[in-house]
C-alpha cells in the first residue's frame, strides 16, 4: 500500500450533499460528528469542497433539478472517490417512489459503492458504511 493510500484511509474527508431528502438522514450525518458519536476522532472531517473530498455522502432521491448538480459534484472530486447512498431514498427512492419529480435512487446518476438502508439511518450505520467504503480503497492502485 502506498503512503498516499494509507493516509487516505487514516483520514477520509467527507462531502455531504442533500439531493431531496427529508432532512432526517442529514441531521443523522451531522449527529455522527457531534459528541456522542464523534467521528472526528477517526480523522473523518466534514468539508464543503468537492475538490478536497474522498467520500461523497448523498441523501435523498435525486430529482430532475439537482441531478446535474450531483453529477457535477461527483466529477469534481479527485480519484479515488467513494460514494455512499445514505438512507432508503438514496438507495431506491424509498417512500417517494411515486412522487412525480423524483428519479428514484442516486445510482441512476452516479456509481455507488455502499448503500445504507434505513429511514432515517442511524449514526452508527453511517460510521459503519464509511469503514466498509474505506476497505475498498485498499485495493485501489493509483
Amino acid at each position: 500500500m502506498s503512503i498516499l493510500t494509507k493516509s487516505r484511509i487514516k483520514s477520509p474527508w467527507l462531502l455531504h450533499y442533500d439531493c431531496g431528502g427529508c432532512n432526517g438522514c442529514d441531521i443523522e450525518v451531522l449527529a455522527a460528528l457531534t459528541p456522542i458519536y464523534d467521528i472526528e476522532r477517526f480523522g473523518i472531517v466534514n468539508i464543503g469542497n468537492p475538490k478536497h473530498a474522498d467520500v461523497l455522502l448523498v441523501t435523498g432521491p435525486v430529482n430532475h433539478r439537482n441531478k446535474r448538480v450531483l453529477r457535477n459534484l461527483y466529477e469534481q472530486m479527485p480519484e479515488p472517490k467513494l460514494v455512499i447512498a445514505v438512507g432508503t431514498c438514496a438507495c431506491t427512492g424509498g417512500i417517494f417512489y411515486n412522487c412525480p419529480n423524483t428519479l428514484g435512487g442516486i445510482d441512476k446518476i452516479i456509481p455507488v459503492d455502499v448503500y445504507i438502508p434505513g429511514c432515517a439511518v442511524r449514526p452508527e450505520a453511517i460510521i459503519d458504511a464509511v469503514v466498509i467504503a474505506l476497505g475498498k480503497l485498499k485495493e485501489y492502485k493509483g
Binding site: Y17, D18, N23, A31, T34, I36, N63, N66, F96, A120
Partner: protein, 347 residues
C-alpha cells in the same frame, strides 16, 4: 453546516446587502401529488417525511385533519401522548437549530454542547417510540405505542438530567456570552407591524412581540394542560434565540404536566371506511411555526387533494425584508434566525 439547498442571490454595495432574490426548487419532489396517489392511511408515513426534523407534528396534523373529516373521537390518552411526542420533537428541533445558529456565528463549542443535550431527547424518543427521528407512531384513530408508568418515570428522570445539562451549559452561555450578543443584538430587525403585515409565523412572530401560537387553539391535549405563548418584544435575532430557548424549557414542563395528567384507557380506536366527501382544514404549531393541512375527500380510499402550507414558506418574505441593509458577514446569522427548513418548503 447543514447543507440544505437554497440559493440567495445577493446584491452588494461594498459590504452592505442592498437586494436579495431567493431561488428555490432544488429539492422539489411532489409529495402533494403522491398524497393523492396513495391510500389515505399510508399518507401518514408520507407526510412524516416532508420534513425529518418536525416529522411528528406533520403526522399529528394530518391525522387530526382526517379524524375531523371522518368525525372520529380519539381516546384522551392518545391525545396526551401525541402532545408528549410533539413537544419532544420541538425540543430536539430547537436545540438542533441553536447548534446550527452557533455554528453560523463560529461558536463551535456551543454547537457541540447543544447537540450533546439533544441526544438525551433523542434517547427518550427512541425509548418511547422506537426510533430517534422519524417515529411513525401516529395513526388515524390514535397512536401505535403506549407510554406506560415505568417508561414515564424514566422519561421524567431523563428530562431532569436534561434540565441540569441545559442549566449548566447552554442557557448561561446564551444569556451571558458577549460574542453571541455582539453577533445577534440589533441584527435582522423585524418590527411588530412588519411581522403582522408579512405574515410571519412561529418564533419569528413571537420574537417580534405578537402573542400568537397555534397551540392556544387547544388541539391534541393543549386545552387540558393549558398553554401560554412565549413572547419577546425586541424583534432581532437575539429575541428569536431567547424565544426558542425559553420554549425548550416550556416544552419540558408541558411534557411533565401531560405525563402526570394522562388518563388511563385505550390508545387508539378502529377507524372503518373512507373519508367522506368534503373538505377540512387543520392547523398545528410546528417548531418553526404554523402548519396548515387542507384535505379533500371523495368517499374513496384516495384523497382528492392534499395541500400543505409550511412555516418556512411563510417566513421567507420576512427574511427578505430583514436582509437588505445588513453586512455581508451577518447574512448566515440572519438567514438561520428564521430556522429555514427547505425540505418542508419545497416538499
Amino acid at each position: 453546516m447543514l447543507p440544505e439547498p437554497i440559493h440567495l442571490k445577493l446584491e452588494l454595495e461594498d459590504e452592505t446587502v442592498v437586494g436579495v432574490t431567493p431561488i428555490i426548487g432544488y429539492i422539489y419532489r411532489g409529495i402533494e401529488k403522491a398524497g393523492e396517489l396513495n391510500p389515505f392511511r399510508n399518507n401518514v408515513f408520507l407526510v412524516e417525511r416532508i420534513c425529518g426534523i418536525c416529522s411528528f407534528t406533520h403526522a399529528l396534523c394530518y391525522c387530526e385533519a382526517v379524524e375531523k373529516l371522518m368525525q372520529v373521537e380519539v381516546p384522551p390518552r392518545a391525545r396526551f401522548i401525541r402532545l408528549c411526542w410533539s413537544e419532544l420533537s420541538r425540543i430536539h428541533s430547537h436545540l438542533l437549530w441553536l447548534g446550527l445558529f452557533a455554528d453560523a456565528m463560529g461558536f463551535e463549542s456551543l454547537f457541540m454542547q447543544c447537540w450533546r443535550a439533544r441526544e438525551i431527547i433523542l434517547d427518550i424518543s427512541e425509548m418511547t417510540a422506537g426510533h430517534r427521528i422519524i417515529q411513525s407512531t401516529s395513526i388515524i384513530g390514535g397512536i401505535r405505542r403506549d407510554i406506560d408508568k415505568e417508561m414515564a418515570k424514566e422519561v421524567e428522570h431523563k428530562l431532569s438530567d436534561f434540565k441540569e445539562l441545559m442549566d449548566n451549559t447552554v442557557s448561561p452561555t446564551v444569556y451571558n456570552d458577549p460574542t453571541i450578543k455582539r453577533r445577534t443584538v440589533g441584527k435582522g430587525m423585524l418590527s411588530k407591524e412588519q411581522a403582522n403585515l408579512l405574515g410571519a409565523v412561529g418564533p419569528i412572530l413571537r420574537g417580534s412581540g405578537v402573542p400568537l401560537d397555534i397551540r392556544q387553539t387547544g388541539y391534541a391535549a393543549y386545552k387540558e394542560t393549558g398553554f401560554e405563548p412565549i413572547v419577546e418584544s425586541d424583534g432581532d435575532c437575539y429575541a428569536r434565540t431567547i424565544v426558542r430557548l425559553r420554549e425548550i424549557y416550556q416544552s419540558r414542563e408541558l411534557i411533565l404536566k401531560a405525563l402526570s395528567l394522562m388518563p388511563e384507557g385505550d390508545i387508539s380506536v378502529t377507524v372503518r371506511g373512507n373519508p367522506p366527501e368534503g373538505e377540512m382544514i387543520h392547523r398545528a404549531e410546528q417548531p418553526r411555526g404554523e402548519v396548515v393541512y387542507y384535505i379533500k375527500g371523495n368517499g374513496t380510499r384516495n384523497l382528492d387533494r392534499l395541500r400543505v402550507r409550511t412555516p418556512t414558506f411563510a417566513n421567507i418574505p420576512p427574511l427578505l425584508t430583514m436582509l437588505p441593509g445588513c453586512e455581508l458577514a451577518d447574512v448566515p446569522v440572519i438567514t438561520l434566525s428564521i430556522d429555514p427548513c427547505i425540505a418542508c418548503t419545497e416538499r
